[in-house]
């Protein structure tokens, strides 16, 4: 929303300078995007008169002019326009001045210099409308009206010595009334503590229509009443289409609207003043285009029929449907209601009679149509913020008044006014006390009343209560809290008492998910791993090369690009490319991890929303590894470190190749195909499956060009935190000495390390024994590939006595026997 300070001052008797106004708007109304004094764009541009002219001898197009801008001295300027006449008034851009258009369109503004054009000296430039930034014509030098005073600054003559302030539309989303200068003026007045009185033409509009004027018949039928609560129109005859006077053009230019002709310019001017979009139809075109023409112009507000088309004023054809409201004659649409007029009834140079429309349309309908058709006109912007139904008539009549002021036209019909529902005033009751509680203020009743009255609310007092009638233009005010905001805003939020709330002294509830992630982050980052964050969006192609199923992913309806069109089902999908990129950066060895949510399509909660599990995924790689052993174990020790810190015991790892694939949870079966079954394991604790760890399949690794020494894990953190982690309690140590013994077993290759370890551990921790077991070595010779040797070191003690040699022997033989029976392994 762009406001001109001079237009504001038409409604407001203030001396305040523009910087103060900007500050007040920021503090009390909403964010200001920028403000700019247009005069700065027109320095050293003055009105000059053509004194002599001759054609350039070496050019068909250039003319050589002697001009005078009031100094009595002729200056020679060469212009690309030969049609200027002696005596014409023009805008002369002096040497050293900047061409206004170039300020906004070129990286470096264009500064006028003295130059020779085909051998003839030229000192300055005669501005075209485009170069002066006030129109589209750049072929012709703009000739000013003959009464333009020579020597006057152009900005002053064209009333551009004014500041424009752009208020952010977002802050005005619910304030249709602030899309007109009148509304902003009213707010500013209240902010400065002054009563605002809306002009009479707005509050009690009237026009005299004589019997003889009522000669053009109009019939209007509203078949879309719920979306068009009001439609008013009037016909004007004897229209003479011409250029608008300077004041009118200037007002439009300042608000970023290009002048077109006197009629269209007036409709736009009304929109600037009070936000009400108006539309002018060419009466004769409307009538003659209607196949069922009688002697009455017929206008119908209705929903479009599927497949109907309209050629808009922007020369584009729009295909319509049943959701789009149109203005139509008896047969076809002549405008898209509230958004854009139709080309077939456009006002042009030959127009003699017009119908002026001033209507109110439903904000949601306008918004939907505007988005659907991609038409973002000022009219659509205004309507979609909800306008006052009561301003249709004042807008219409003010337009008639102004049109008559600048042309000889006359009213040629009655005012047609179709209103769906009689306007009812809104009344709200509020308590001063409650208001002060919500705002944290101590504003007196008198002050509250003043603020509200200055904004033209009607206020009656009833003890602590105020009964308030809301002005018709405040469609955003429904409840008392809306009034509190108005009062707080005008009073100034900076005047509020700043005080912390009083609260019971109570610790916050534990969020185990959040606190577990904190521990994970701490542990992994302290062990050389780097936390990353990656996008939730992935390329569907990544699924293919990662051997995962893209059909399990949620897809976006409106992605930014194909590469960002699919929601990942596993964090590893987005970590893999990052591993590749870091290798390409020349980093040889690293471990990356991310904690985030991944989604699996159709894996939903009771209320049909996707299950949102948090995952921890880690991927490590080492390009320079000597390749001894599977990288599975390097990833596994990260898990062990983590489980130890989280106090989770009895973790089981079972090889994917040996695991039943059926009955695995979604979050595992989804990611499983990425892992190599022979070198990866499913992680579970107490029967709860937590995740997968291991090497990636050869082809996945190869697709990302990752080194052989690469492995990963993905853990479901939500499942992890469900596992009860017991408090670690102190375990009494025996006071007697410990004995250490190494035991080397030879066993079949397929016997698991962990099974034997648990047998040993059980034996050395019962019957008063206390013991620990650890692995010293796992060996396999090239000759005997189906056998392996594992050396366990046991450290053992007794709570009641010092262990004797024979006790040790007894323990060892117990272990030996048990292992021989269960696993046919021998001590060697």
């Amino acid at each position: 929303m762009r406001v001109s300070v001079n237009l504001l001052k038409q409604f407001l008797d203030i001396e305040t300078n523009e910087n103060e106004i900007v500050q007040l708007i920021k503090e009390h109304i909403g964010e200001v995007e920028y403000h700019h004094n247009l005069e700065d764009d027109y320095k050293d541009i003055v009105i000059a008169e053509i004194k002599q002219k001759e054609d350039h001898p070496d050019s068909d197009k250039l003319g050589i002019y002697q001009i005078d801008y009031g100094t009595g001295e002729n200056i020679q300027v060469v212009a690309g326009d030969r049609a200027l006449e002696v005596g014409d008034k023009v805008a002369y851009i002096k040497v050293g001045a900047v061409v206004p258009y170039s300020i906004y369109s070129e990286p470096e503004p264009f500064v006028i210099k003295s130059i020779k054009l085909r051998g003839v000296e030229s000192n300055g430039m005669l501005g075209s409308a485009k170069e002066l930034n006030i129109g589209n014509d750049h072929e012709r030098v703009m000739v000013l009206p003959n009464d333009a005073p020579v020597g006057t600054e152009f900005a002053q003559y064209y009333e551009l010595n004014d500041t424009v302030i752009e208020i952010e539309n977002k802050a005005l989303t619910n304030r249709g009334d602030l899309f007109g200068v009148l509304g902003v003026a009213r707010e500013l007045s209240a902010i400065m503590g002054k009563a605002f009185i809306t002009p009479n033409w707005y509050t009690s509009p009237s026009v005299e229509i004589g019997q003889e004027d009522n000669c053009l018949k109009i019939k209007i039928e509203n078949d879309a009443e719920s979306l068009c609560p009001r439609y008013t129109a009037i016909a004007l005859d004897n229209i003479e289409i011409k250029e608008s006077p300077v004041w009118l053009k200037s007002s439009l230019i300042k608000c970023g609207i290009k002048p077109i002709n006197n009629i269209v310019d007036i409709t736009n001017y009304i929109s600037i003043l009070i936000g009400q979009p108006l539309h002018a139809f060419d009466y004769d075109k409307l009538v003659s285009n209607d196949p069922n023409y009688t002697d009455t112009a017929y206008i119908n507000i209705r929903m479009a029929k599927y497949g109907e088309k309209i050629l808009g004023l922007d020369e584009k054809i729009y295909e319509l449907n049943e959701n789009i409201m149109v203005i139509a004659d008896s047969n076809h649409p002549i405008a898209i209601a509230g958004i854009i007029g139709g080309h077939d009834t456009e006002v042009d140079d030959s127009t003699k009679r017009i119908i002026l429309e001033s209507a109110n349309f439903d904000k949601s309908s306008i918004r939907r149509t505007s988005m659907q058709l991609g038409i973002f006109t000022d009219a659509a912007t205004h309507f979609k913020h909800a306008l006052d139904t009561q301003q249709c008539i004042p807008a219409l009549l003010k337009a008639v008044e102004l049109i008559q002021k600048i042309s000889d036209s006359k009213v040629a019909s009655n005012i047609v006014d179709i209103q769906y529902l009689e306007y009812k005033e809104k009344g709200i009751q509020m308590s001063i006390n409650n208001m002060n509680t919500v705002l944290g203020t101590n504003i007196s009743k008198e002050e509250v009343t003043n603020i509200l009255k200055n904004l033209e609310y009607t206020v009656t007092e009833q003890e602590d209560l105020l009964n308030i009638t809301v002005p018709s233009w405040r469609r955003d005010i429904d409840i008392k809290e809306d009034l509190y905001e108005d009062i707080g805003r005008i009073y100034g939020f900076h005047n509020v008492d700043i005080k912390l709330p009083q609260k019971e002294i109570k610790p916050p509830r534990e969020n185990k998910l959040f606190s577990t992630k904190k521990i994970v982050r701490e542990v992994l980052s302290n062990h050389g791993a780097n936390e990353i964050l990656t996008y939730s969006f992935t390329d569907p192609e990544l699924f293919n090369i990662s051997n995962l199923d893209a059909n399990l992913a949620y897809r976006l309806k409106n992605p930014l690009s194909k590469e960002l069109s699919t929601m990942r089902t596993s964090l590893l999908l987005s970590i893999l490319p990052k591993v590749k990129e870091n290798l390409e950066r020349g980093i040889d060895k690293f471990a990356l991890f991310e904690m985030n949510i991944a989604h699996i399509n159709k894996y939903v909660t009771e209320d049909n929303l996707p299950v949102e599990n948090w995952y921890l995924s880690l991927l490590l790689t080492d390009r320079k590894s000597d390749g001894k052993g599977s990288p599975y174990y390097a990833t596994k020790i990260y898990l062990e470190e983590l489980f130890r810190k989280l106090n989770i015991l009895n973790i089981e790892y079972s090889l994917i190749a040996d695991h039943q694939e059926q009955g695995l949870p979604e979050y595992i079966s989804n990611v499983l195909p990425m892992f190599d079954p022979n070198t990866s394991a499913i992680i579970s604790v107490q029967g709860e499956i937590l995740g997968v760890v291991g090497e990636l399949r050869y082809e996945v690794r190869n697709n990302f060009k990752l080194p052989e020494y690469t492995s990963a894990f993905e853990l479901n953190i939500n499942k992890l935190i469900e596992i009860p982690s017991n408090y670690k309690k102190y375990r009494e140590q025996p006071i007697y000495p410990t004995f250490t013994q190494d035991l080397c077993f030879e066993m079949d290759d397929n016997v698991n390390y962990g099974d034997i370890e648990s047998v040993i551990s059980t034996i050395i921790n019962k019957d008063d024994l206390w013991g620990k077991v650890e692995c010293l070595d796992i060996y396999k010779s090239d000759d005997e590939l189906d056998k392996k040797r594992i050396t366990y070191r046991i450290v053992v003690s007794n709570y009641k006595k010092t262990l004797a040699d024979k006790d040790i022997k007894e323990i060892v033989s117990k272990i030996e026997k048990k292992i021989k029976v269960s696993y046919s392994a021998d001590i060697i």
């Binding site: 920021k26 503090e27 109304i29 909403g30 964010e31 977002k170 802050a171 989303t173 304030r175 949601s364 309908s365 918004r367 988005m371 509680t437 705002l439 944290g440 203020t441 809290e481 509190y484 805003r489 939020f493 900076h494 509020v496 700043i498 709330p501 609260k503 916050p508 998910l513 959040f514 982050r521 050389g528 780097n530 990353i532 964050l533 996008y535 939730s536 969006f537 949620y554 976006l556 930014l560 990356l592 904690m595 949510i597 989604h599 929303l609 052993g629 599975y632 174990y633 020790i637 090889l655 990866s680 050869y698 082809e699 390390y753 370890e757 692995c775 070595d777 796992i778 060996y779 392996k788």
Partner: protein, 345 residues
């Protein structure tokens, strides 16, 4: 020559066995390498009497063809499927290796992500002020993202949020306010004090200052007699703690359908103390977040009586705060996964 033919038969037998047992490389070495068996057989043809050369040649060439086919097959198989050997997943380290070798990653330069680190710091501050924490969803529905927040269908304020939609009609939240209704319900009845951090998405082009993916922290506070002044004090208090500076604050009007009154929270720039610097765009002030008193309709939607309780809410972007605090000039670094960036933190 009978002897040679018999020999060939034996060779075929060996090949059949090796085909099952050996991988590509060993098979190639054994048979077609410089001293390979087949290579020897092929060389032998010189010694075969002329009258038998044709028969021998035919036989041995057919064997050669078979061998080449086997090699081709093996190569193909190994290229598409890496024939790994089963490991013992319960062992602490692999056969013939040791544990110390595995810990080589532990000594690398590890790091926490700067953004999650800031979230932790902020949540710690909120926690010390008595706020509960609940993290935000990343896919949600229209009800939570819009309707429960007083954005009826067709409301123009929906345009303020460039939301992503899934093909199934779900929404990727454009703000953490998507959690307000849930938080009010699950932490109610009042007093309620909760912060809601989470990842948000907006469908907009990415550049140094804009991301389609970003992080927000929402705050919700509901109790009896809660005022706008309480809100300003709360926000000011935690920002001063977080930025370790005394701040001047300004409250500017704004518009959000789910608050009434609606405000923009503006702080004096903690880096230049209002003198103007690059962080505050030389204005001396930084617009840091949207906030306001929770709209009565939002409270009602969560079964809280707005005639008894009032409350406030805020939402701010963590990315921008992190960037301001750490002097990061391009938001895209945060999700680049670039180790040269990450290892600085």
């Amino acid at each position: 020559m009978e002897y040679s033919i018999k020999e060939i038969e034996e060779l075929v037998k060996t090949i059949e066995e090796d085909k099952k047992e050996l991988d590509y490389e060993s098979f190639r070495k054994k048979h077609t390498g410089n001293n390979g068996i087949l290579t020897q057989y092929l060389k032998k043809i010189i010694d075969i009497p002329n009258d038998q050369k044709a028969v021998y040649g035919k036989e041995i060439n057919s064997v050669k063809e078979d061998v080449l086919n086997i090699l081709e097959e093996k190569k193909k198989l190994e290229n598409t499927y890496y024939s790994s050997k089963k490991i013992d997943p319960t062992a602490p380290f692999d056969i013939n290796s040791n544990k110390d070798e595995l810990q080589k990653f532990f000594t690398l330069e590890g790091s926490k992500h700067p953004l999650t680190k800031e979230v932790e710091i902020l949540v710690d501050i909120f926690s010390s002020m008595g706020f509960d924490v609940l993290e935000s969803r990343q896919i949600d529905d229209d009800y939570h993202m819009f309707q429960s927040l007083n954005f009826p269908k067709g409301h123009p304020a929906r345009d303020m949020y460039d939301t992503f939609w899934t093909e199934d009609g779900l929404i990727l939240p454009a703000h953490t306010s998507t959690m307000q209704n849930r938080a009010l319900k699950s932490f109610g009845p009042p007093p309620i004090a909760v912060v809601l951090p989470g990842r948000c998405f907006r469908n907009e082009a990415t550049d140094a200052g804009h991301e389609h993916t970003f992080h927000q922290i929402e705050g919700v506070y509901v109790d009896k007699n809660i005022s706008l002044g309480n809100m300003i004090a709360t926000i000011k208090t935690y920002l001063e703690k977080y930025l370790n500076a005394e701040l001047e604050v300004r409250i500017q009007p704004a518009y959000f359908p789910f608050t009434e009154p609606d405000c923009e929270f503006v702080i004096s720039c903690p880096f230049c103390n209002k003198a103007g610097c690059s962080t505050c765009g030389h204005s001396g002030w930084i617009e840091i977040m949207g906030c306001g008193m929770i709209h009565p309709n939002v409270l009602k939607e969560a079964d809280i009586d707005p005639d008894i309780y009032t409350g406030f809410a805020w939402g701010f972007g963590v990315d921008r705060l992190t960037m301001i605090k750490l002097g990061i000039n391009d938001i895209r670094y945060l999700r680049s996964g670039n180790l040269n960036f990450l290892r600085q933190f």
